[in-house]
């Protein structure tokens, strides 16, 4: 009858009368408490060691803190954006116009930014995903152990290269290299909208194409690192089961490693996508400003949410113009949330290995 667990919760709550009711719902065997209803403290509380209490407090505090922080950021964005949104002379969501130079006549819409952001990010993801998968499989399945470790370090080092360096590399090294490729694609595949002649000078290399490739390199390490960790944890018993059935190396990968690691690989890719969406400096340096709207071509220029905001920093002295950029930032914030939610639901759909 004397269930010591039941009294743990009320130990910290004040009113002796109320605390009887709280744990009563889940636990029926609560008889021992009634005899001492007038006790000023709760003497029946099982001993909770101070270390446990401190640790629990710290852990709970950290959890609450991060949630509160995200909430505060969202709140900040909303509060700062609303006044400017009210002053907006065009539709915020569907307009392609962006002119905030005159605070009295704000005209800003995010459609162009949204499209460029998504196309750059998806191009990056499209390039990075298969390469990361290949690297992760190579490191976990094929590479000799002595090689795999240093190789993995090198990949991780790629993540430590500053964004600005990638931007400079993209503009001065990759851009010129891509010029003939771009020319060829425009000439031969120009009838496909994606490869049509764009709204900026291809020779300068400041296109969505260049930006997408650079961002792909930037998100490669995170996708590779997470996928590698997941693939490494493929249960040995399943791998051996496949080998014992006469599976070749590739068949082992196909029947055990990939099904096991699929969810992890997808969430790794979504992490990469999240990073791609928010990538700022490199994209800002690379993308040429376009005078006309984004036309779905990889050889268009333009700006992403993040690069647009970064470029506009000098305008922030007027709160009304700044509010327009904060509104754009809010959309980016929501976009990354949506991407994460999609990733979570995909991962939740693959629970066979849990």
């Amino acid at each position: 009858m004397n269930d010591p667990v039941v009294a743990r919760r009320p130990a910290r709550s004040g009113e002796p009368g109320a605390e009887r009711g709280v744990p009563a719902a889940p636990h029926a065997s609560e008889a021992p408490i009634p005899p001492t209803p007038e006790a000023p403290q709760t003497p029946k509380a099982p001993h909770v060691r101070p270390g446990d209490r401190v640790f629990r407090g710290l852990a709970t505090g950290s959890g609450v803190f991060i949630v509160a922080l995200i909430g505060a950021i969202g709140l900040f964005l909303v509060v700062q954006a609303i006044p400017s949104l009210g002053l907006d002379q065009v539709n915020f969501l569907t307009s392609r116009e962006w002119n905030t130079s005159d605070p009295a006549n704000l005209r800003f819409g995010i459609l162009d930014l949204l499209l460029v952001t998504i196309v750059v990010s998806l191009l990056a993801l499209l390039i990075a995903m298969p390469i990361a998968l290949g690297i992760a499989l190579f490191l976990t399945q094929y590479a000799p152990r002595q090689l795999a470790r240093p190789f993995a370090y090198v990949i991780d080092l790629l993540a430590a290269v500053p964004s600005i360096v990638f931007g400079l590399w993209g503009l001065f090294v990759l851009g010129p290299v891509l010029y003939p490729v771009s020319e060829w694609l425009i000439e031969h595949l120009g009838w496909i909208p994606f490869f049509a002649k764009g709204n900026v000078n291809v020779q300068l290399g400041g296109t969505v194409f260049t930006a997408g490739i650079v961002v792909a390199v930037m998100i490669l390490p995170i996708i590779t690192a997470v996928s590698r960790e997941v693939f490494e944890r493929t249960p040995t018993m399943h791998v051996e089961g496949a080998i014992a059935l006469g599976a070749t190396k590739w068949e082992v990968v196909r029947t055990t490693v990939l099904p096991f690691g699929k969810a992890g690989y997808v969430s790794a890719s979504m992490l990469g996508l999240g990073r791609a969406l928010g990538e700022t400096i490199a994209v800002m340096i690379i993308l040429s400003t376009a005078t006309s709207a984004f036309g779905w071509s990889l050889f268009d220029g333009g700006a992403t949410f993040a690069s647009k905001i970064a470029l506009a920093a000098p305008e922030f002295n007027d709160p009304r113009s700044a509010g327009a950029y904060i509104a754009a930032g809010l959309v980016l914030f929501v976009l990354t949330f949506v991407v994460n939610a999609i990733a979570r639901s995909i991962v939740a759909g693959h629970k066979e290995y849990e």
Binding site: R145, P235, M237, H238, E240, G241, A242, I243, A244, L245, G246, A247, T248, E251, T255, T256, P259, F260, E352, Y353
Partner: protein
């Protein structure tokens, strides 16, 4: 089907560690051979060398010969993948592929071998599940994942998967050690039935099980920590359990050690 195995002067290594020393042993066809011995004596290692699973571990090495009806499976011209397709294996813990349906689990080996004909696959799935005494329990849910079965059913599913490719030899590495007594009994009955068609080698820690299911028993032992495991003796199961030739064997099966 049901070929004989001859192990000749087999030495097994993990890197520099000499795990098993000079094992020579004959496994007749349509017969159950049990490997018994204390933990770490190398009986599982020997079993895993019989379908070239031993070399999967990094640094693992094999010396000596394993003849399958006279042909050395360690000959340089032999592809280990082919060896594993003709010598099936059932593991200690049931390991059906969790993302595959029951049916796909059973025919996984055939699919790896390139069989695509759906009718043929269905026939093999039914025959193998019947062979593993599992058909009646799962025939209505062949498309459900194999991970949803009980432990004993999962292990029989793994046996069905192993016999679906009609192997020459079936290796079992403590197939009942993770199962309850009723499931164990089901597997033991199954082993006795499978013996009509297959050559079976089973590693077990359960001496009653060895006595119940096997025709011949091999006793492995190790002389000390860090020493290689050795085959002490192999004989008819009846003789090993009633009148073993070696004192060490008698001590082990009667529960006296050292």
């Amino acid at each position: 089907m049901a070929k004989r195995l001859d192990i000749k002067d087999l030495n097994l290594y993990y890197g520099k560690f000499h795990a098993v020393e000079n094992v020579s042993l004959a496994v007749p066809p349509r017969n159950v051979t049990a490997f018994i011995g204390p933990s770490g004596c190398g009986k599982s290692t020997v079993l895993r060398s019989l379908n070239r699973m031993h070399e999967v571990a990094p640094g693992a090495r094999v010396e000596g010969k394993v003849l399958l009806d006279g042909e050395d499976i360690y000959a340089s011209t032999v592809d280990p993948v082919e060896v594993r397709r003709t010598i099936g294996m059932v593991f200690q813990r049931p390991n059906p592929f969790p993302t595959m349906s029951i049916r796909d689990n059973v025919v996984a080996g055939l699919k790896l071998a390139g069989v695509k004909n759906k009718k043929e696959l269905d026939e093999v799935a039914e025959r193998s599940l019947r062979g593993a005494n599992l058909w009646n329990e799962v025939k209505d849910r062949l498309d459900r994942p194999g991970g949803g079965l009980s432990g004993g059913q999962q292990q029989r599913l793994c046996i069905a998967r192993a016999i679906a490719v009609q192997p020459d030899v079936l290796l079992m590495d403590e197939p009942c050690s993770a199962l309850d007594p009723i499931s164990t009994l089901a597997i033991e009955d199954l082993i006795t039935e499978l013996k009509k068609d297959y050559t079976i080698v089973i590693v077990t820690h359960n001496m009653q099980q060895a006595a119940r299911v096997s025709d011949q028993t091999a006793f492995f032992n190790l002389l000390g920590v860090g020493q290689p495991g050795q085959l002490i003796e192999v004989d008819d199961t009846e003789k090993i359990f009633s009148n073993p030739g070696q004192k060490a064997t008698e001590d082990y099966i009667s529960g006296r050690f050292g």
